[in-house]
């Protein structure tokens, strides 16, 4: 009987389907969402956004390839249904939503499909986070979050400089420090630092196997680190600008990189917090 089933053409096809690698299924799923990737690729190529997403994409691919031997042959049904629903939503979004929102739905759909074949206990949130960060989101973040971040940065920097004994006041996103005007304009907003910090958090969490709930609990601390870091960077540079006639680009770069290293080191510490001690 078993031989008869195995020899039946339908059964043979079924067997073939079941032996297809989960990565191949994911590849097919990704192909079904190609309009979103085409849009993201075009955005990447037209120069309207920094190509930071490539780093997140590479990290994501490395993570998936390394986990490939552990992926389940039989996906979990609940997650498959969720992935299908998200795919449908992403497709509908092509006609009704801005492309970026559609692409976010598409990467979440793919991440959900990945979740359906991942073994138990593996982190999913950092993987989904990396998938979203792989999209060209920096310009949009700059558009929607740039101004509030600039105002907050300028305001707290003003307090910091006042505490340091400098005459500082804020008007919009412009600061007058020691009588000298310094603008906290779009490139100063800290949006890039936001992306870097969350990228750092996702990569560390994904590769160190941090559980989703633990990661979620630590994300607010990441946000606080970014804010503190950007205020620190801005305050130091504004103080320098207010006291010198011209601050060189190398100093700008140097201060920015040092603060970024500190913030990312803090993020690594937060994401690994408690684990190392227990080790």
């Amino acid at each position: 009987m078993a031989t008869a089933i195995a020899l039946h053409p339908l059964a043979r096809w079924q067997t073939r389907f079941e032996t297809v690698s989960p990565l191949a299924w994911l590849g097919l799923h990704a192909a079904a969402l190609w309009p979103h990737w085409r849009w993201a690729g075009a955005r990447l190529a037209d120069g309207s956004d920094d190509p930071l997403g490539v780093a997140a994409l590479v990290a994501l691919l490395v993570w998936v390839v390394r986990r490939e031997p552990l992926l389940r042959g039989a996906p979990r049904q609940g997650w498959v249904y969720a992935a299908a629903a998200l795919t449908a939503l992403a497709t509908l979004a092509l006609f009704h939503l801005p492309p970026l929102l559609g692409a976010v739905l598409a990467v979440l759909s793919l991440a959900t499909a990945l979740r359906s074949v991942m073994p138990s206990g593996q982190p999913w949130l950092p993987v989904a986070g990396l998938a979203v960060l792989a999209l060209p989101v920096v310009s949009s973040l700059q558009f929607y979050a740039g101004y509030p971040l600039r105002v907050v940065t300028a305001e707290i920097s003003t307090w910091v400089l006042q505490l340091a004994g400098l005459a500082a006041e804020r008007s919009g996103t412009t600061m007058i420090v020691q009588g000298r005007q310094v603008i906290v304009d779009a490139p100063c907003s800290g949006v890039q630092m936001v992306w870097m910090a969350y990228f750092c958090a996702c990569v560390v969490a994904a590769f160190s196997g941090l559980r989703d709930r633990a990661m979620l609990a630590r994300l607010p601390a990441v946000g606080a680190l970014v804010l503190v870091g950007n205020v620190l960077r801005n305050s130091v540079l504004v103080a320098l600008e207010a006291q010198q006639s011209q601050v060189s680009d190398a100093v700008h770069q140097g201060v920015g990189l040092v603060v970024l290293v500190a913030v990312c080191a803090g993020v690594v510490g937060v994401m690994r917090g408690g684990r190392d001690a227990q080790d």
């Binding site: 560390v204 190398a250 970024l260």
Partner: protein
Amino acid sequence: MSRPLIPYQPLSRTGRVLWCMALALFSALLMLFWSPAHADDSEALKAESPYFAVNSSEPGTDRLPLKSTSVDVKIAGVIADVTVTQHYRNEGQRPIEARYVFPGSTQAAVYAMKVTLGERVLTARIKEKEAARIEYQAAKREGKTSALLEQRRPNVFEMKVANILPGDDVAVELRYTELLRPTDAQYAFVFPTVVGPRYNSPAAAADNGGAVGGAYLKQGVASNASFALRVSLDTPLVVKEVASPSHEVMVDGLGSTHAAVSLKPTDKPANNRDFTLNYRLAGDRIESGLVLYRGEGEGDENFFLAMVEPPKAVAPRQINPRDYIFVVDISGSMHGYPLDTAKVLLRNLIGSLRPSDTFNVMLFSGSSRMLSPASVPATRANIDQAIRTIHEMGGGGSTEIVPALKRVAALPKAEEVSRSVIFVTDGYVSVEAEVFRLIRQNLNQFNVFSFGIGTSVNRHLIEGMARAGQGEAFIVTKPEQAAAQAERLRRIIEAPVLTQVKASFEGLDTYDVEPLQLPDVLGGRPVVVMGKWRGAWEGRFVIEGRAADGPYRQVLTAAPNGRGPSALRQLWARQRIAALSDQEALEGGSTQKAQITELGLTYSLLTQYTSFIAVDQRVRNPNPAQTPQVDQPSPLPEGVSDQAIGAEVPSTPEPGALAALLVVLGVVVAGVWPSRRRRKE
């Protein structure tokens, strides 16, 4: 609940030190060898800021202050004839050479120059530019007082006067004519008094052979020179309204066909912003008509000018989807009042879009940044978001308009969408030719409407952009004008009032007609045609087209026989030179040089290839080699700060994306790698 334990071996002390050293070395190498993703202005020169430059060992004694400027304007019909007289006096101890840059109208046809030195009058001749330069240099070396007037840009002139002896009072008289083209039945005469400082990109500086604009007085420092301006208006219809939005004026003869306007005495400096005079005629009509001029001598050419009032705009019909890209200059020269005005303008422009329209905003200075990756629908939420962001932008940096324009041209666009690009800038750049070329190359992509904001904007750039982009130019000199100009743009772009426009003549043998092809007529703009004619003084001018409510036809008959205004000669030649210059900008190089030079010499017009030269035949300076050059400083345009001439507003940008990413990757690897190594162990 226990966590899954990850094997971990802490680094030894030596390991930590080595790790820190490696990180420090990595950062140092980055700083040394990696060039950050720089904005376009990182290598750019700042706008020239020489202030009052005296090339002399005794700067306190070599002075040539401008004492006075007197402007006499005679407007007859739609033609303005302007005489500008400037008095200088050498108050120093030695003979000097003076260089002075000053503005003119973009439409000006400069046709005469006269230099008066005490009792001696030197009438300038038009010459080919290089020949004039050689003659000037020779006269200068020989110790003869001489004057050279050159065109730096179509609306910026440079005059040099050599061998001005101590105590000399020099009067330079310049004459030009221009055509006044009404908009919405309102006529405007503009006299620019100061050249705004122009930002030069490195490429443009090389092309221009130096920066445009001369020395500047510091912000808030007024010129000591007096300024007087008189306008006499002679029109066939009664003058109804006369007002100046820029200056306080006294008006006589309102309600008659002859009016006189002069500046009201005031303590406020009058020569640091454009003088603008607006007037309307009775019945709110545009002065339509066919004006003929017959040459004075046998064989002289005859010229005509036809101006036709278009039909009034009608309610907009069903129109194609429209997309608007607002490109806003936030460079240093826009800081303060111009940017504030731009914000008011944008609030009005974006706020008046329909929900079916889409829009995007690009802010540019040294680099450009789109506020949204792609155009977004003009919903209330999107408009509010854009306005909030625009409201808080500050000015700083250079004016890299060409990269911004290239980026706009590269934006993808659906075929059925009609795209309009609205530039908002003071135009303080000197890359006009490249900008015009880029716009012309992308005409199938968008129309260009340009808003010049400031008290003394670069009208050549603003108007040239609109001309190249088949759009319209708008000048906003005060925040309170922003709403009206935004409304005007909205009315214009809603629907063209006349399409498929054709002009023809009956009973008049015409040739060399300008323009060769008539564009669609947008709201409130008259059709203007100029050219030459042969034969008898008679004929009719017929304009035909398709208006919103059907075919349109208007016929004009020639005014009674007579001689007509001679200014038509220069106006026609100026129009032809402008067309040839546009063509040359499109083709690159000096392809139209011969034709432009010939026109300049024939009609005695200042062009980019012809100059006015006046030389006194007496040797007045026995030691001309010791003559220092003095730059006569101009006041900065009102509302323009020192930032426009080099003082950038500092900011605190984040480090370059690539360097930051490499650093973060280093930290990430450092954070993940120890735990993996320990797990293996």
